[in-house]
Each structure stands twice: as structure tokens, then as C-alpha cells.
Amino acid sequence: MHDSFLTHARKRWLWASLVLLSGALLAYAWHDPIGPANGGTWLGYTLGTIGALLIVWLMLFGVRKRTYANRVGSLRGWLSAHVYLGTALILVALLHSGFQFGWNLHTLALVLMLLVIFSGFFGVFAYLRYPALMTRNRDSASRQAMLEEIADIDQNALALADGIDRRIHAIVLRSIENTRLGGGVWAQLTAHDSSDLALAQARQMLEKREVEGNDAAKLSTREMPTMFAMVDFLAGNADDKQSEALRKLIDLLSRKKSLAGRVARDIQLQSLMEIWLYFHVPLSFALLAALSAHIIVVFFYW
């Protein structure tokens, strides 16, 4: 029933591009130009035209994707074609170039094209791999739901901590302050839990303050990582009621930690599925510029 874009219409576009490729290869093998093989021969011009048209068409995918009323084929079909023909483009372009490379505009266009295509390959990989991971990670709870649960846990944790000891309360308070999910590009891509970062900052600040000899709140560094602090406290001075509550608290916080981890992971997967586009698209426009320049130039200096 569900049909991936790779298997769309019994891989119609895979076959299409294979035909294109074999055609190009045969022509190239058979063709014996005057002088060396390059874009200047009739085959070169033919392949060049095909390649240029392909590139323009492939870039039109961005438009087609957004013209929703468009009835020309389904978007899945277009993506399928986009992927397969895009891949075929590699060989078409190489044959067009006659494997002549150099430090010039023409090779630049080729390189840009390859970059675009390979960033696209990552996109395909991401589209095939990450969705399933994402669902598994979410475990049928939406991100919003997880965030809300975290918020609830925070409230409960505070309430609990307040019943135990002011130091614990302070610690929990801090750990809440420090839980910030998401962040910059890198933070999102690496699913890195910024609460640890915040922890480190707090440690620095603390040390700084101690150097300054500020007598305000002489807190031992043992208290830094929330969990350990708890356990220490548990080990040390705590009556049964407290330690009971403390255990609950620790359960809560570990639950929260795992939740936070899952949200971070969710963000990561999402961003992994998007990040490549931020290269794919700008590069393709660079390619468009290089391509147009290439075409104009070769006829400018004929």
C-alpha cells in the first residue's frame, strides 16, 4: 500500500535513468571525434544540453513541491525521478567533460554539481533511515507531550525537594534552570544535553566565587552533579522520611533525564533530516550560476 519514492511505480525512474546512462555510454564509446573528446564535439554538445536541461529540471523540483494544485504526476513520482535522474547526471556530466579537468570555471561547475548530488545522497539516506528511528524514539508520545511531562516533573520535584532540605531544593532548582533542550545548529545535530553544559558553567562560577573568597554560601563542589549530591545526602544526614522522599525525587529526576534525552534525540533526528537541505539548496544555486556562466563562456570564446 505505502510505496516509497525509491520503489515508486515499479522503479520506473530507475529504469529511465539506466536507459539514459547506457545510451550515453554507448554513444561515448562509439563516438570518435576530431581531436580529443570533450564538450566541443557533437556528442559533447548533446550530452551538455541533456545535462543542462536535467539540472534546470531537477531544480524545478523545489517549485513543483510547492505548487500543490499541480496535477502533473504525484510528488512522490517527482522525487523518485529527481533522485534517479539526479544520480544519472553524474555520468552524463563526466562524459560531457570528456574527463578533462582543470582549475577553471568548467570544472568548478562539475565539482559543484557533484557536491549537490552527494549532499542529495545523504538526504536519501536520511529519509530512508531516520523516520523509523524517530518513531521508535518517540514511542508514540509527541514531543510536546514529553516537554509537558518534563515541566510537570519539575513542579513535582520542586515540591518534593522543598519537603526535604533547602540545599536539595536549591540543587533541584538549579537543575531545572539548567534544563534547556535544543540550541544552536551543532547542539541540535549532536543531540547534546545542554544541562551538562550549564552544569559546567555553574561549576566554573562556583570556583570563581571561591577564589574571590566570597563567603556567601560555602557549598562543597561535591554538590555539583545533581544525582551524586542527592546520593551523598542520602548516605549522610537524612532521616527515613527524608530519604524516602529523596528516593522518590531521584526517581523523578532520572525519569526526567531520560525524557530530556529522548527529546534531544528527537530534535537531533529531525535536524538530521533537514540539515542536508541547507547545503543541497544553496549549492544547487551556486551550480546554476556556474552552469550558466559555463554555457555563456564556451560560446563567448567559441
Binding site: Y68, L75, P131, S140, S142
Partner: protein
């Protein structure tokens, strides 16, 4: 002392107001009694700036008061002015508590505020909304004690007491709590009356402390505090812990409305049946069974403003003994004109009622109403009326001539004058089971689903008759098309209609089978207990039957049949059915072949229990009543939300589906999107009858939507919302290249909204892009093929494909 008038008009809704105005115009002595402190409370309570429609557009308005589509404010103003200039004798704050006819004398009318009136005629225009319950304690009418809330945004920084535990109260409280200090007062100790979402919402708010709640509390009195004190007023209440007082700025009481039926019945008016949807029977002059007591407007079964106003006008004319041609006369004439041998409307109506037994049970007024909704059709012989598998569900009564029902090419049944057809789809909400072709000089009445259902609901006899015919035909078409009604009379006799709620078992595995069930409405799942786990084997939509296995070979039920949704089956007694089978050998063969197919299918499903799980999951999501549901394979979905964007872009800027929301099981995700139910909940209560089903099954909302929001409330899947037409966006390229305006899926900046809140809002829902070639945009716009739309019949196949 009691005042005496000729006409007392109760309720200043469109109908009552119009009547009073007419009376005033004619100089007839009259009084207009309104419980609220202003005219036509129902419309007054519409949300600010709401655009009010004037359906049905074709109907001419006859009333001294103006009315045409426009904003709530404009219309109310027009009426107030009209009432003022005509010097209508209106009494506000007079809630009529009792009306009774004194022997031979006039009506005695008592109001809850003690006022008493006498009148020769009474016109009831109290509508169906009923009257808002008030606090019923001293101070209930203080200016800061209000019974509705138009715009929560207009208050901030106040301490507001909300009284009530219903959805309205909770929604108001939560909305107000955003920028006010809110206290909610609940007479009980829980919010059980409210919708789940609201209940959770309020409990969360209370837990967070953003809303304070008094349980088991009821107000004793509200009184105003002297100027300059910190709060405006004080509310005293008694709780189970004793008395308490709250200083507050404002009290908002949402105590619901007192349904009018009891009151109306108290006046001696009888209703045809217990069905809450039914309305009292009234004469063509709108006179009820109580002499001299007239009923206009929604209470009389006329929910639309214009109709009600016309009735108000007409009823006064009748009382004055003047003969008025009903406003719908020209419309009816127009409808009947293509009916052969048409003379006058009345004649035509009589003819219809004479010829069609089904319609003989209803009052002339109901008939007029019925005919207004219906169409007279006189198709040429041989013309196709509808095709097999069309998704139409209008109902046809044959006035003259005959039609051919083509069950299958070789077998045609002929229906003659007086009979009716189309009831199958009407009842099952499924595709047409046969093609119907017009015979010679055939004239018939085509009635849309809604008006037919209204009729069935209000007239018991009609219901009975239709059911009887339905059963007969169902058995015939399903089992033995060869035989005639007479031959299967015994089976029909034995047949009973049984109703099941979602999840009820029709029969259990292992029981001895004594009956066969033909699904009439809804659908069943067939499941089997495998290894202590109930595994769904198949899905039986309406029009199919279950339980024949037990009647054929073994006598024990081989599986359990459960109602997937609210379901009605025709229960055929086993013995009678066995006889039928014995009589018709072909039937035996047919049953056996279907039996074999079904067993093999079941075995396949048993081979892969997970498939069964998927089906039961889908059924649990209410997919059972769907005809077409959107599914997303999350192992393919890259969360690009292009489906939503596509939907928004192809439907005026608002997406009708929410991809993220909705449950997921085994990577199958059921997003929040319309399933185009067999019996769409949204269609239930649509004043202008704007929701229709297209021939291909799409349930869509037509442009004559008046934005009342009923469908939004009625949809259990929350796939309908109110939206205004967004301004047009800049071209796609200018966005792509220069980021001009808002991109696909992004809500466009709405200049109109900024100007005034009075942009006309209408209900929007998925129409499966019926106007676009190539199917739903959401599916077409999915780049990875994650989104598909399938119908429940395909579930087993789908489940197998998910292996």
C-alpha cells in the same frame, strides 16, 4: 393586576419579534415577552462580529423588520430600530413560567418575576436554545453578573468568579485565567459533565494554581461593594466546609439553559414521540393542538431566521383572520411546475400525499416543508436516476409511473406509483446498491438525506414503514434476488432490527448460532481468540452479513462478531433462514462459495496476528465508521509537513489535517483528518444543510455554511474548524526567490483581521480535494509516499501489506 392583550408573543426571537412587529404595524393589541434584557437573546449571544447568513436565499422575506446577511451587530441594530419605530409593546426580563387556557376564556400567562397577562392568542417563539439558567440568588442581575462571555480578552487583571462545571464554564475559566485571577465554583465534587479535554485542562489549571476551585459549593448571594473598595463585589457561598466569601470584580455564570420542551408540554402541547429532535405537530396556520396557541420558529421545526420571521408575520395574519398565501407558495409552484398536469400547489400536494402512502402520515405543514427541501423529478423513460456505487443518499418517492431497479444486469425489479426507493443508502450511509432507471411517465419526489431523516425522526409511522421495506429488500437483494417479497414473507416476519453500541458483541465464539445478522448501519469486526488473545480476522461493513457459518455447517459460532461502531443489524431467525436456504438451492451454493472465501481470508489473517492488531488499532481510532481514512507510515514520513501545507494551499490557507496529532501503532500513524464517516456526525445538525456527500463519497461543506459551528462541535475527531477566507498570497516564485509574503502552509498576514474582528468565519473540513483531479492533495504532495488514503474494506489487505 393582570394586563389583557389580544396576542401575547412569548420570546423575542426572529419569529416572535416579527409577529409583534406585524401586530404593532396593524395596530393589534399585543405584548412581546422576553426573558432577557434585550431582543432575540439567541442571536445576541452569538460571538462578537459573527457573520449571520440569510439562508434559504430563495425564500422571500415578509416582515416589517429588516433582515439580510450581515454582521451580528448590524442585524441586531436593524431589529432594535425597527421595534422602536413600530412602537412594539415589548417587556424585557419577563420570563414566562406558565401558560394555561382558562375555561373558554383567554390564556393566563404568568412570569417568573410575578407579572401576569391575559391574551386571546399566544404565539410561542421561544426557540430550542431555551433560556439561560440564572444564579437564582439575590444579585443575579447585577451588571457584573453575566451569563455569557463574548471575548475573554477584554478583561485583564480582574478577579473573576466562574460558576458552573460544564464545558462552557470550563472554557471560559481557562480562557480568562490567562490574564485574570479566576475562581471557579462547582456545585459537585468533580467535572464529570465536561468533555475529556476540558476536564483535564481545568484539573491541570487547578493543580497549577492558575485557577482556584470551590467544589461542592453553591452561591448564596452576590452583592455590590461600595465604590472605592478594592473589589467591585462580594459573593457569599456555602460549601461543605461552611460559608465562604469571595471578593471579585465579575461573576460569570454558565449554568446551561432550561430546555423548552418541558415548558411547552406544560402548556398542553403534545410532541409526536420521545425523540428529542422531534417538534410539535402544527397546522398549516402554525396552530398547535392547543386551540389559539401558535408556534413559530425553531420550536416549530423552522431553525432558520428568515423562515421564522415569515411565520411570525403570517401567524398574525391568520389570527387576524386574513388569508395569506404562505411565503413558500411561489417556491412550491416553481417546484411543481414541471410535474405533468399541474394546476395548483394545494392540488399537487394532495396528489403527492394521496399517491405516496409514506407521506400520508405527515401534516400538510410538514409536507410543505418537506417539498421545499425536495425536488420534483419527471425523468424521461430510460433515463438513469442514479448509478450503482454512487455515493448519493437522497430518497425517492414515486408519485406516478414506475422505475426499474437494476440489481444486476439480468435482474430488474419494477417499482410502481406509491412505492419509494433509495432507502438503503439513506440508512446504511453507503454507496448505492443498485442502478435505478426511470420507467414510463414516471414522476417522483427526490428528498435530501437531511429532510428525510428529520421526517423519520419526527413521524414514527414513516420510520416503521421504511424499516419494513428495507428489511424485505435487503434480504431479497442480499440472499435471494430470484424470489419475490411474498415468497420470503416468513423470513421478513422473523426479522428484527437490533442495535449495538461500539464494542458490543453481536455473538460470541463458541455460542450456538441461531440467527444470521445482516449489517444495516455501521460495521462489525470478526475476531477469534487465539492463544488467549483476541485477534481481529476481518471487517464487515454495512450491507454484508455474518453468522451464516453457524447456520451452514457447524452449529457453533466459529468467531466473535463485535460492533466496530454504533451498529444496527437485521437479525434473521435461523430456522426461517434455513427454510429459505432449503427452498432456494442457488442461495445455498452462493452462501457456500462466500463461506469458503471468507474462511480462507480468515486463515490468512490468523497466519499473521500482527495484522489483526493493526486492524483493531484502526478500529479503535474510529476508523470503523470511516469510508476513507488518511494513514501515514511513519517509517516513511520525514515530517516535512508538506501534506499540511498542500492542504492549506489548496484550501484557502487553512490546513484541514494535523499530521503530528493522532496515535501511532506499528509505525502506522492516524493523523487528525476527516474520515468521511458513513453517517457523518457533522451532518447531524447543520441549519442551512450545507454539508453534503459528493457522488464519490467526499463529505464537504458547501458555501451556504452560516458558520454556526455545530459541525465543529459534533465531530468526534476534531477535524472541522472555523476559518475565515485568508487574503491572497504573493506568487510562489516571489516567495521562493525573495521570501515575499508568507510561504506555503504559513498563515498569511490577515489585514482584514487587524481592521475588525468581523471577518466572516465558516466551517472548513477535508473535502478530499474533490475539485482537484488526481485525488487528495495531502497524498499527492507526500514526497516519500508515506501518506495514503484507504477505506475500511481495504484494512485486511492493508494489514497484510504491513507484514
Amino acid at each position: 393586576m393582570t394586563e389583557r392583550f389580544k396576542i401575547a408573543i412569548v420570546g423575542s426571537g426572529p419569529g416572535g419579534k416579527s409577529a409583534a412587529a406585524r401586530a404593532a404595524e396593524q395596530g393589534v393589541s399585543h405584548v412581546l415577552l422576553e426573558a432577557a434584557p434585550h431582543l432575540s437573546n439567541t442571536i445576541y449571544r452569538y460571538q462578537k462580529g459573527k457573520h449571520v447568513m440569510d439562508e434559504p436565499g430563495i425564500l422571500p422575506l415578509r416582515s416589517p423588520l429588516p433582515f439580510k446577511a450581515g454582521s451580528r451587530e448590524a442585524i441586531l441594530k436593524g431589529w432594535d430600530d425597527g421595534v422602536a419605530t413600530l412602537k412594539v409593546n415589548v417587556r424585557f426580563g419577563h420570563e414566562v413560567s406558565k401558560i394555561h387556557k382558562t375555561e373558554g376564556g383567554p390564556f393566563a400567562i404568568a412570569c417568573s418575576n410575578g407579572a401576569k397577562f391575559e391574551a386571546d392568542f399566544v404565539v410561542l417563539g421561544i426557540g430550542l436554545q431555551g433560556n439561560l439558567r440564572k444564579l437564582g440568588v439575590p444579585g443575579e442581575d447585577l451588571p457584573q453578573v453575566q451569563y455569557q462571555l463574548d471575548d475573554p480578552g477584554e478583561y485583564s487583571g480582574e478577579t473573576i468568579v466562574v460558576v458552573g462545571a460544564g464545558d462552557a464554564a470550563i472554557e471560559n475559566a481557562i480562557a480568562l485565567a490567562r490574564q485574570n485571577n479566576v475562581i471557579i465554583i462547582n456545585r459537585k465534587d468533580e467535572f464529570s459533565r465536561a468533555k475529556k479535554g476540558n476536564e483535564q485542562g481545568i484539573l491541570k489549571a487547578i493543580e497549577e494554581g492558575s485557577i482556584e476551585c470551590f467544589y461542592n459549593a453553591s452561591p448564596d448571594k452576590v452583592d455590590k461593594l461600595p465604590e472605592g473598595s478594592r473589589k467591585r463585589m462580594r459573593m457569599l457561598l456555602s460549601t461543605d466546609k461552611g460559608k465562604a466569601q469571595i471578593l471579585c470584580d465579575r461573576v460569570i455564570a454558565r449554568l446551561g439553559a432550561s430546555a423548552p420542551r418541558s415548558f411547552v408540554e406544560a402548556c398542553g402541547i403534545v410532541f409526536p414521540n420521545k425523540d428529542p429532535a422531534s417538534v410539535p405537530a402544527i397546522s398549516p396556520q402554525y396552530e398547535s393542538n392547543v386551540k389559539g396557541m401558535y408556534i413559530v420558529g425553531a420550536l416549530g421545526g423552522y431553525p432558520l431566521i428568515k423562515q421564522a420571521m415569515n411565520q411570525g408575520y403570517e401567524v398574525v395574519e391568520y389570527i387576524e383572520g386574513r388569508k395569506v398565501e404562505p411565503a413558500d407558495e411561489p417556491l412550491l409552484r416553481d417546484k411543481f411546475k414541471n410535474m405533468p398536469g399541474f394546476t395548483t400547489v394545494t392540488a399537487a400536494l394532495d396528489k403527492v400525499q394521496k399517491n405516496v402512502r409514506l407521506l400520508s402520515h405527515i401534516t400538510p405543514l410538514q409536507l410543505r416543508e418537506f417539498m421545499i427541501d425536495s425536488e420534483i423529478r419527471a425523468p424521461r423513460a430510460g433515463e438513469t436516476i442514479f448509478e450503482r456505487n454512487d455515493y448519493t443518499n437522497s430518497f425517492y418517492s414515486i408519485v406516478e409511473g414506475e422505475v426499474l431497479i437494476e440489481v444486476d444486469p439480468q435482474r430488474k425489479i419494477t417499482l410502481r406509483k406509491g412505492e419509494f426507493f433509495g432507502e438503503m443508502s439513506l440508512i446504511s450511509g453507503r454507496r448505492r446498491s443498485a442502478t435505478v432507471i426511470a420507467g414510463n411517465q414516471c414522476v417522483m419526489v427526490e428528498t435530501p438525506r437531511r429532510s428525510m431523516n428529520k421526517l423519520i425522526a419526527s413521524v414514527e409511522a414513516v420510520k416503521r414503514e421504511i424499516d419494513k421495506v428495507f428489511i424485505g429488500r435487503a434480504i431479497l437483494s442480499r440472499f435471494s434476488p430470484e424470489s419475490t417479497i411474498e415468497q420470503i414473507a416468513d423470513v421478513i416476519e422473523s426479522a428484527r432490527i437490533e442495535r449495538f453500541k461500539a464494542g458490543d458483541t453481536v455473538f460470541n465464539e463458541g455460542e450456538t448460532g441461531d440467527a444470521l445478522h445482516l449489517v444495516r448501519v455501521g460495521s462489525l469486526t470478526i475476531s477469534r481468540n487465539i492463544g488467549g488473545k483476541e485477534v481481529v480476522l476481518s471487517y464487515v461493513p454495512a450491507g454484508n452479513y455474518v453468522g451464516e457459518m453457524a447456520l451452514m455447517g457447524e452449529s457453533k459460532r466459529s468467531a466473535t462478531a463485535r460492533a466496530a461502531i454504533a451498529t444496527e443489524t437485521v437479525r434473521l431467525d435461523g430456522e426461517a433462514f434455513k427454510k429459505l436456504v432449503a427452498r432456494t438451492p442457488i442461495l445455498k451454493l452462493r452462501l457456500q462459495s462466500e463461506y469458503r472465501q471468507r474462511t480462507t481470508a480468515n486463515l490468512q489473517m490468523q497466519a499473521m496476528p500482527t495484522g489483526g492488531d493493526i486492524i483493531s488499532f484502526l478500529i479503535a481510532q474510529g476508523a470503523g465508521e470511516a469510508t476513507d481514512i488518511l494513514l501515514i507510515d511513519e517509517s516513511l514520513c520525514v515530517r516535512c509537513d508538506n501534506c499540511e501545507k498542500a492542504c492549506a494551499e489548496t484550501h484557502g490557507g487553512t490546513s484541514r489535517l494535523d499530521r503530528e496529532a493522532g496515535p501511532t501503532f506499528a509505525q502506522v500513524h492516524v493523523p487528525t483528518s476527516c474520515r468521511h464517516c458513513e453517517h457523518p456526525h457533522c451532518m447531524k445538525d447543520c441549519p442551512p444543510d450545507a454539508i453534503h456527500r459528493a457522488p464519490n463519497g467526499e463529505v464537504f461543506i458547501a458555501d451556504n455554511c452560516i458558520g454556526c459551528g455545530n459541525c465543529e462541535r459534533n465531530c468526534p475527531y476534531g477535524v472541522i474548524h472555523m476559518a475565515s477566507k485568508p487574503p491572497s498570497k504573493p506568487g510562489l516564485l516571489s516567495w521562493l526567490l525573495f521570501g515575499a509574503g508568507s510561504g506555503p502552509g504559513e498563515a498569511p498576514y490577515d489585514a482584514a483581521k487587524k481592521k475588525d474582528g468581523a471577518v466572516e468565519k465558516k466551517a472548513v473540513k477535508c473535502d478530499m480535494c474533490k475539485d482537484l483531479k488526481g485525488g487528495p492533495a495531502c497524498v499527492r504532495a507526500c514526497p516519500t509516499g508515506a501518506a495514503i488514503r484507504i477505506s475500511p474494506e481495504e484494512f485486511p489487505a492493508y494489514a497484510q501489506s504491513r507484514r
